[in-house]
C-alpha cells in the first residue's frame, strides 16, 4: 500500500490526538477526585500552601510539603498520574501545625494540586507545576 502525502498527514493527526487523549482523561479523573472530596462545594484560591520543586529530576521521589493553618484535612493530587489521588492528611486535636511533608511519585511533567478542608467547612486550593525529567510510574 502506497502512502500518499495526504494519508500520512491524516495518520499523523490521528496519532497526535491519541497521544493527547490520555492526559485529558487523567485530568477528568483528578476533577472527579476533587469533587468527591469537596462534595461539589466551591473551592477558593489561597489559604493553603503547597511547596513542590519546580523541576524534579526523578519522578519516583518528589518532595512535597503542604500547609494550611486551621485545616482539618488536606488532599494531595497529581493531576497527570494514571491515578490522580496521592494522599489525604487528616489532622487531629494534637497536631502542632496543619502541615506535613512527604515524597511522592509523578508520572511526568504535570500539575500537583492540594485541596484543604478548612475548619469552617470551606475548601481552599493551591497548585504547582512540576517538571519531571524521568517519570516515576515504571513501565
Amino acid at each position: 500500500m502506497d502512502f500518499t502525502r495526504r494519508d500520512a498527514l491524516i495518520l499523523g493527526a490521528g496519532a497526535a490526538t491519541a497521544a493527547l487523549l490520555p492526559v485529558g482523561v487523567f485530568a477528568a479523573a483528578g476533577d472527579e477526585e476533587i469533587a468527591a472530596f469537596t462534595g461539589g462545594a466551591d473551592v477558593s484560591e489561597g489559604g493553603v500552601e503547597l511547596t513542590a520543586p519546580e523541576i524534579a529530576e526523578n519522578g519516583n521521589t518528589v518532595p512535597v510539603a503542604v500547609s494550611a493553618p486551621g485545616a482539618t484535612a488536606i488532599m494531595l493530587l497529581a493531576m497527570g498520574n494514571p491515578s490522580p489521588r496521592v494522599a489525604t492528611f487528616n489532622f487531629g486535636p494534637l497536631a502542632g501545625a496543619q502541615a506535613a511533608s512527604t515524597r511522592i511519585r509523578l508520572a511526568g511533567t504535570q500539575e500537583v494540586v492540594a485541596i484543604a478542608k478548612l475548619a469552617d467547612g470551606s475548601f481552599a486550593r493551591a497548585s504547582s507545576n512540576v517538571k519531571v525529567t524521568i517519570g516515576g510510574c515504571g513501565g
Binding site: R85, G92, G96, G139
Partner: protein, 109 residues
Amino acid sequence: MASGVKPRVKVPRTAAVGDVITIKTLISHKMESGQRKDKEGNIIPQSIINTFSCDFNGQNIMSVDLSGAVSTNPYFQFEATVPEAGDFTFTWNDDDGSVYTETKSVKIG
C-alpha cells in the same frame, strides 16, 4: 510484602509542656504502585501501605490515607503538640493486612 519492613521514627526525648515538636517517620516498604509491569507484561498487583496514623496518649495527631503515588519507603514529617509526658504511637496498615507499630516516649523537662 511483610518482609524487611522496618519503621523508623525520630522524636525528641524531652519537651516542655505545650511545645510543638517535629516528628519524622520513615518505613521501609516497596509501595508497589500497581502500575508497573513484569517481564511478561503482566501488571504487578498493587501492594502498599494504605494508612498511617500517629497518636499521643490516645489522642490523634495526624492520619494519612496513602495511594500508590506515595514513594517507596513512605516518609512523613509533621508537627505535634505535647500537652504532657506520654507515648507517641505510630501505626502503619499494609494492604496485606499487616500492621506495623512503633512507640516513642517523651518526657517533660
